[in-house]
C-alpha cells in the first residue's frame, strides 16, 4: 500500500491508499466534525458538516471530507471562514428541529445558538437530523433493512417498515448513542405498535 502525504491545516499528514481525507485526519488526531459519520458504516455525505477546502494544482474547491479520497500533495484547510460559515448556517437550519442531543453544544461553538430560521406554526420538533445512521446500520451491519427512508425533500423521514416482521430481530443496536446521537430513534421504535406486540410475544 503506497503512502501519501497531505498538508492539513499546515500539518503534514500521512495517508494510505483508499483512505478518505476524513479518516486520514482522524488518524492524525485532527478532528473534523461530522453529524452523519460512523466508522462502521460507508460514508454518507448528507450532513455536509465535514466540508473542507482542498487545493491541488492551484485550484481550490470545497468538498465533503468523508467522501473525498486522500491524494498525495493535497493541501487541506478545515477551518477557513467559508467553512465556518457553512457550519454556522447548517446548525442554524437544524437547531430548531433538533434542540436536544449534540447540536446545542455545537451551536454555541460555531455561534449559531440564535437561529434566524425558527419553526413555523404547525411545524414540530423532530429531533431527527436525517443523518441516516439508523437506516445504514440496519442495512450494512445487520443486513436486515428493517428501517428505511420514506418520502422526498422536506417530507423525508425515517420509518420502521410497517411489515418489518421477521426483518427486525429487536437487537436494539439502533438505540445506541453511536447510532442515534439525539436519542430520537428510541422514541420512534418504542412507540411502534408492532414492536410492542413483539416484546409482549417473547
Amino acid at each position: 500500500m503506497s503512502t501519501m502525504t497531505m498538508k492539513i491545516d499546515g500539518k503534514p499528514v500521512k495517508a494510505e491508499e483508499g483512505m478518505t481525507v476524513f479518516q486520514a485526519a482522524r488518524n492524525a488526531g485532527i478532528g473534523i466534525p461530522s453529524l452523519c459519520y460512523n466508522e462502521k458504516l460507508e460514508p454518507f455525505g448528507a450532513c455536509r458538516f465535514c466540508m473542507i477546502e482542498v487545493t491541488k494544482n492551484r485550484k481550490t474547491k470545497l468538498v465533503a471530507s468523508c467522501c473525498y479520497p486522500a491524494e498525495d500533495g493535497l493541501v487541506v484547510k478545515t477551518n477557513s471562514e467559508r467553512i465556518l460559515k457553512i457550519r454556522k448556517v447548517i446548525l442554524e437550519l437544524l437547531l430548531p428541529l433538533a434542540p436536544s442531543g449534540p447540536l446545542p453544544d455545537l451551536a454555541k461553538k460555531y455561534g449559531a445558538d440564535r437561529s434566524r430560521f425558527p419553526l413555523e406554526k404547525g411545524e414540530e420538533i423532530t429531533n431527527c437530523t436525517l443523518c441516516g445512521r439508523c437506516v445504514r446500520y440496519c442495512a450494512e451491519v445487520k443486513k436486515l433493512n428493517a428501517i428505511g427512508f420514506v418520502g422526498r425533500g422536506v417530507n423525508r423521514r425515517v420509518e420502521l417498515m410497517p411489515e418489518i416482521g421477521n426483518e427486525c430481530i429487536t437487537c436494539r443496536e439502533c438505540y445506541g448513542r453511536d447510532v442515534c446521537e439525539s436519542g430520537r430513534f428510541v422514541v420512534i421504535a418504542e412507540e411502534f405498535p408492532f414492536l410492542q406486540y413483539a416484546y409482549r410475544g417473547r
Partner: protein
C-alpha cells in the same frame, strides 16, 4: 427464477408452521409464492362453498387481511371470496410482468410502472408480492414508491386530471387554473373526489409549453384554456 426469501414479509410463523410449509415445498416442488397462490385459491373456494376454515399459515392470513383491506379501500362491500379471487388474479398478473423482466432486481422501477399501468395504483399486497418475487427488501420498495411522483399508494379516481405548472404555463396563469379546478372539484391537488370520479394532480411540465396553460384529462390535452372553460371540460367526462 430467483429463490424467494425464506420468511414472508409481515408475519412471524411458528416453527411447526415453518416445517409444514417446507415439507409442502419439498413434496410439491413448488416455490413458496406458488404455494401461497394455490392456498389463496383454495381459501377462495372454501369460502364460496360456505365453509369457514382457519388459514394454514399466518402468511396466508396476512394476504387475506390485505385483500379485505383492499376491498374496503375501494369502498365496495365485497364478499370474502370475491376480494380474494380478485387479488389472486392481480398476483398472477404481477408474476407475468416480473417473469417478463427475468426477475431482474435492477428493473424494479420499470416493473412497478408496468404493474401500475394496469391497476392505476399500487395496493400494499402488490408491493409485498414484488418484494417476495424479486427478493428486494420492503424498505427499498417503500422508499422508491414514496420518492417518485409517478407511484400512487392510494386508490385513484376514474379520470385523472393533471394541471401543468411548468414555467411557461406558470407565466401564463397556470396556478390560477389549478385553483379554479380545485374549487370546481371540491378537492386539493393529489386528492380524489368522494365519488371516485376524478383525481387531481399538478405536474411540472408536460412539454406543450407553447399551448400554456394546459390541462390533461386522461389522454386528452386541453391547451390555451381559461378559468371559465374548466367546468365545461370537466362536465364532459362521465
Amino acid at each position: 427464477m430467483e429463490k424467494s426469501k425464506s420468511k414472508f414479509v409481515g408475519v412471524r410463523i411458528t416453527d411447526e408452521q415453518a416445517s409444514i410449509l417446507s415439507r409442502l415445498q419439498k413434496d410439491s416442488r413448488l416455490s413458496k409464492t406458488e404455494i401461497l397462490i394455490k392456498g389463496l385459491t383454495f381459501l377462495d373456494e372454501f369460502y364460496s362453498l360456505g365453509l369457514d376454515r382457519k388459514p394454514l399459515s399466518d402468511e396466508l392470513g396476512a394476504l387475506e387481511k390485505e385483500a379485505f383491506h383492499y376491498a374496503a379501500e375501494l369502498r365496495r362491500v365485497r364478499k370474502r371470496e370475491e376480494a380474494i379471487s380478485e387479488m389472486v388474479q392481480e398476483l398472477h398478473n404481477i408474476d407475468e410482468i416480473v417473469d417478463k423482466y427475468h426477475c431482474d432486481k435492477s428493473a424494479l422501477i420499470q416493473i412497478l410502472l408496468e404493474i401500475q399501468a394496469k391497476t392505476y395504483w399500487l395496493p400494499k399486497h402488490t408491493l409485498m408480492w414484488v418484494s417476495e418475487r424479486l427478493n428486494v427488501p420492503m424498505s427499498q420498495i417503500r422508499q422508491i414508491t414514496t420518492f417518485y411522483k409517478a407511484f400512487h399508494l392510494k386508490p385513484r379516481g376514474k379520470h385523472l386530471v393533471r394541471v401543468c405548472l411548468g414555467t411557461a404555463c406558470h407565466v401564463r396563469g397556470g396556478p390560477r387554473i389549478l385553483e379554479h379546478t380545485e374549487r370546481a372539484l371540491g378537492i386539493k391537488a393529489s386528492e380524489t373526489t368522494e365519488d371516485m370520479k376524478f383525481t387531481l394532480e399538478s405536474v411540472n411540465c408536460l412539454g406543450c409549453c407553447a399551448l400554456g396553460p394546459v390541462i390533461v384529462v386522461d389522454g386528452d390535452y386541453h391547451g390555451r384554456i381559461s378559468s371559465s372553460q374548466v367546468e365545461k371540460i370537466l362536465s364532459s367526462y362521465t
